[in-house]
Symmetry: C2
DNA sequence: AAGGGCCAACTGGTCCAACCAGATTGACAG
DNA sequence: CTGTCAATCTGGTTGGACCAGTTGGCCCTT
């Protein structure tokens, strides 16, 4: 069936085929047959899923979906697999993203290096070219935000924040299908960039906060609409 | 060799036996022999390590340690395995923890439920009993901090923060070996609790910030001392 | 008809032996 | 010293096998 990246496909399948009552999934042997791969490969993937606490393997009993909250990594994985995300958890993840990025804007103002500024300028220039050509923004949005986190010089921070973008990746083309959204976003990015460059931490923080309100609103709309 | 939790042991071994130059580790077959387990089990563990981006498996070539920054999960794993942690990354993780928990104190002040308060009271009572008995604090510290994050009612947030405590777990007994530290910590916890109960978000935030300065100082001392 | 106890099938955990094809390496020839 | 090529090593993947608890259904008892 699948050729690569068994992980998201398996995760999706588990959710689709699990027992409604107790969350029990098909057995390893059944999964192996369904995906046309060996049991060893299924086990390897399940090990990862278990490490992510998406699944629990009970010896000699079965594999069960974890009811506990998904980590951000798990959310990103689900999004990648095209699985419907729990609206509540999306909302929680967006809140966490706000916490992270507002603080990141502040720290970036204090610590950004020339290298960071160069990259930010490149990203903004790329955005401008896109908009001028009438094309929708794409990875520029993600790159801009991640570069600000990187500018905090905290690599652990960067690593943690990276997963949000895996989560929203599928949505970017949809989000920026509206040209106005692209222009708005770019304008706000420019302001944030300038604030950081002026080392005005408070302003950068405030602008980022305002900017992310829009993102939050978008997700809220999706949640209200029931789609995720 | 190992009986359970191959993961941290394997991670530790990989770091100890990898090639200094290119980070290449022993082959799967060698690892299997060394740990006295089958290759399948080694592969399963390596899959997790690879998902954590601690290791990279190159087909038909070898297994290589990733030079990229570790995620918080990886840091926690290393700590659990008793591996020396990179001081810089510890510092970064502590900074991130501060960001998280100060915000958590604020949100908890706004959202904590009776259930949260009950649990917090229980934790504080347990701490008091310990101190009265002349015993060092143990998991009470972790429980208190995590309960505050839980009180934000953001389960994704809670999940992300949980890993910090896996990271520092080994240190708790050492940290609280000094009775003064236990008393101080407990007193500050009490203040934070009261601020949250009074729904005074600003105060809770400020107190948490001050409280975490101590933690940060402790880690800074460790880093300066070279031990991690 | 309901309850309890037993057994067979099922399940995850583990191991082994094998094959594949590309990467690597070292010896050999120039 | 250099270039070439074959033997070796490596991860990737498969299939089969065995173990020992778990489960669930069947049958007997009450």
């Amino acid at each position: 069936m699948s050729e690569k990246n068994l992980l998201p496909e398996l995760a999706a399948y588990l959710y689709g085929s699990s027992n409604e009552d107790n969350g029990r999934t098909p057995s390893e042997r059944e999964l192996a047959e369904h995906f046309g791969v060996s049991r060893g490969q299924i086990r390897e993937t399940l090990a990862i899923l278990e490490a992510m606490q998406i699944v629990e393997r009970r010896a000699k009993s079965g594999i069960f979906l974890t009811t506990r909250t998904a980590s951000v990594e798990a959310l990103a994985l689900f999004a990648k697999a095209g699985l419907p995300l729990d609206p509540i958890q999306i909302y929680e993840a967006v809140e966490l993203r706000k916490i992270h990025e507002i603080k990141a804007a502040e720290l970036a103002s204090l610590r950004a290096t020339d290298e960071n500024f160069t990259r930010l300028r490149e990203i903004l220039a790329s955005s401008e070219r896109r908009l001028a050509a009438g094309e929708p923004l794409a990875e520029e949005d993600r790159d801009f935000h991640l570069e600000i986190v990187r500018a905090t010089q905290n690599t652990v921070f960067f690593r943690v924040c990276s997963v949000y973008y895996a989560m929203g990746e599928r949505r970017l083309p949809i989000y920026f299908a509206d040209p106005d959204r692209g222009r708005n976003s770019h304008a706000e990015h420019l302001q944030i960039f300038e604030a950081i460059q002026k080392r005005d931490a408070n302003l950068a923080q405030a602008l980022m906060s305002a900017h992310l309100q829009g993102v939050e609103g978008y997700w809220k709309g999706l949640i209200a609409g029931g789609k995720a």
